[in-house]
Subunit: 395 residues, 2 copies
């Protein structure tokens, strides 16, 4: 046999980016954005979500004025956000054309202003153009400011699979502007809080206690509390990505994805009628009850979690959890476990709760116990109390 | 003004992969490939270039037998290579569909067998599916075995721009099988040698001397010498990527791209009739003469470089170098400098030769001196001697 020779390649790449928490970032006196742009060739284009322009009628004028005052030119593209931009390849092509036509290179900037879906999709275009141009994310929702927008991923949907296409590409910078949160409707305001509950439950009991104690003020849209919530939640996510040793998910574990296997599937099964955070709240509820049914957590802790979610205004049950005319978990939802495994590959790894503030990973989930957990959620939910047919069905 | 807070994210990611030099890798007794597959979930699919199947009629049977002997199943997709696969998005969609349908996840393998263009395009699909599945490259040409196939990039063309879309995504492993080189036609055999001349000129005078001394044997297709050439050239590229500090090209410098600004543009201007290596040979000749005209290199060194290229059978002149009815550099070619700059962004950075074996970067190129360099190449080339009209034009 021919004797093979091998050269072993190995190197390290350092990544760093600031996550800035500010207000009114397009006010000319605010120098956060311009401070970043001055590092490079200063050429910049901006992509903004249609809904943001509609909620903030003066924003395009304000943006243009900002760049003018600072002596820079900035072209703007307005494009829809939400799951639509992730489902429709034509939008990605539109962003790529924008990058191409304005001759944005690896030392120029794409500033993306919008919710998590827009940032995912525009970030994907930025990551593949010229093998990666500089992306400045300006997340405009609670969810994107405290979770997805501060992370290292981007993606679009393909073949009907959520996030089938994407890359791991850290942004150049993230700027969270709290003012955008003021114009969110109640559903979107609430939705992002689910990720704060999630990360508190697996990492920080003090933070969970704080959320529980402040439910009413959060529901009354106290901005100071919301800014604190966003900051702590973002900080926990950033810390995890930076220190847990697997920022680009080479392994099979997704410790930040507590409650997410069911959430991803429910979003899809609801035809994206459920917001991500609403689906995550149900996913958290399901895996919390499952944790208890498999000997983790105590009963009081389960009540605390479910009560907190309900007090925040989340539903903890959805009809797609149960198979029709049955008390078993919906077969398509159950299949979500395998899809969740497949996305990372390797062994199935699901985060459960050992106690509030402490997660524990397991390698399998029981169909029977999941069905029991779903039934428990049905009985604990407002849906149950309002619907005699469901009561009858569950007996 | 609102006081902003900042969280600074920073982390490092380690990359490593083996580059294996072997023979007959689909012979069941050769354990290189199977040794790699055993690290994962062992699910694998293979994409192979149409031309390889045509040159090696038994190869699909051999591949199927290889996996069967080792107790594995492996689906195969046959697809065209060359610039066609990089220009046509439908081929990327075909590879993505193949990945999707066979449920390849991040712990499964995509084995890509073909030349540089196929590896670029299939590698791109592998990099964006599930944010990156494991790619094993099996390069089949001199060029891909000694240069592109051992590196960290992938790409496709878009908006008529070469490599407009792509990512930096190190492969899981590279296996160079020397047997594939035996079936290359003379043009493709020769083409890859241009990258060895290139890297020798900027980094390793001993290697350049070795190539010059072995031109005749290489032209006579001595396999032992070619394997040595491929190994040393690959080694120099791997070493540079691993140790020069900028594997993902965050800066403006592309030290390995000596001769490439003109080569990229010439490939395109020739409608891809010029092979990459053929264009690189002309680009090397141009920047070598330019180096001399700007006070670098001595005249004897210029003769050595041009003689080596010509002895290997390369043309060192192409009609697209000169503007029609003029002795000035072709304006479209000159514009290639700006496109080269734009791809990386930042300041223009071009590698020239200080002496054989030692490169030197400059930040500008003179239109006048480039025109002189092109005229010099015209006069030094066989095209000139065979074409009285060109002689007349050049006087």
């Amino acid at each position: 046999m021919y004797k093979a020779q091998t050269i072993q390649q190995h190197f390290q790449v350092s990544y760093q980016y600031p996550v800035i928490f500010s207000r009114n970032i397009f006010n000319p006196e605010n120098e956060e954005l311009i401070g970043i742009l001055r590092h490079g060739s200063a050429k910049a284009v901006l992509v903004i979500e249609t809904a943001i322009r509609e909620c903030h009628p003066g924003i395009l004028r304000e943006i243009n004025n900002y760049f003018k005052v600072h002596g820079l030119h900035c072209e703007v593209l307005v494009i829809p956000g939400g799951e639509a931009i992730k489902n429709e390849p034509a939008y990605i092509e539109e962003v790529l054309t924008f990058i191409h036509e304005h001759r944005i290179d690896r030392h120029s900037y794409l500033i993306a202003v919008g919710g998590g879906a827009l940032l995912d999709a525009v970030g994907y275009a930025a990551a593949i153009a010229h093998r990666g141009i500089r992306l400045i994310r300006v997340p405009t929702t609670v969810l994107s400011q405290n979770d997805s927008g501060v992370g290292v991923k981007n993606s679009v949907n393909h073949f009907g699979k959520k996030n089938f296409l994407g890359t791991f590409s850290p942004p150049y910078a993230v700027i969270n502007d709290a003012v955008f949160l003021e114009s969110l409707d109640d559903r979107n305001w609430r939705s992002g809080i689910a990720e704060a509950v999630k990360v508190a439950l697996i990492k920080d009991k003090v933070f969970f206690d704080w959320i529980s104690a402040n439910v009413e003020a959060l529901n009354n849209r106290d901005m100071t509390l919301m800014e604190q919530l966003v900051f702590r939640c973002a900080e926990l996510h950033i810390e995890h990505i930076g220190t847990a040793g697997d920022p680009f998910e080479k392994g099979s574990s997704r410790p930040l994805d507590f409650g997410h296997w069911a959430a991803h599937k429910l979003e899809c099964l609801s035809g994206y009628q459920l917001l991500h955070g609403e689906a995550v709240a149900i996913g958290i509820a399901l895996d919390t009850v499952y944790s208890r049914l498999t000997g983790r957590l105590n009963a009081m802790e389960v009540f605390r979690v479910l009560d907190c979610l309900k007090a925040l205004g989340f539903e903890i049950f959805h009809p797609m959890l149960l198979e029709e005319h049955s008390l078993e978990i919906h077969p398509q939802l159950f299949r979500g476990l395998e899809e969740f495994r497949e996305h990372l590959g390797g062994e199935l790894t699901i985060m459960l709760l050992e106690e509030i503030g402490k997660g524990e990973e397991v390698q399998e989930m029981s169909h029977t116990i999941l069905s029991e957990a779903v039934q428990y959620l049905l009985k604990s939910s407002s849906v149950f109390n309002d619907n005699p047919i469901l009561i009858q069905q569950s007996l």
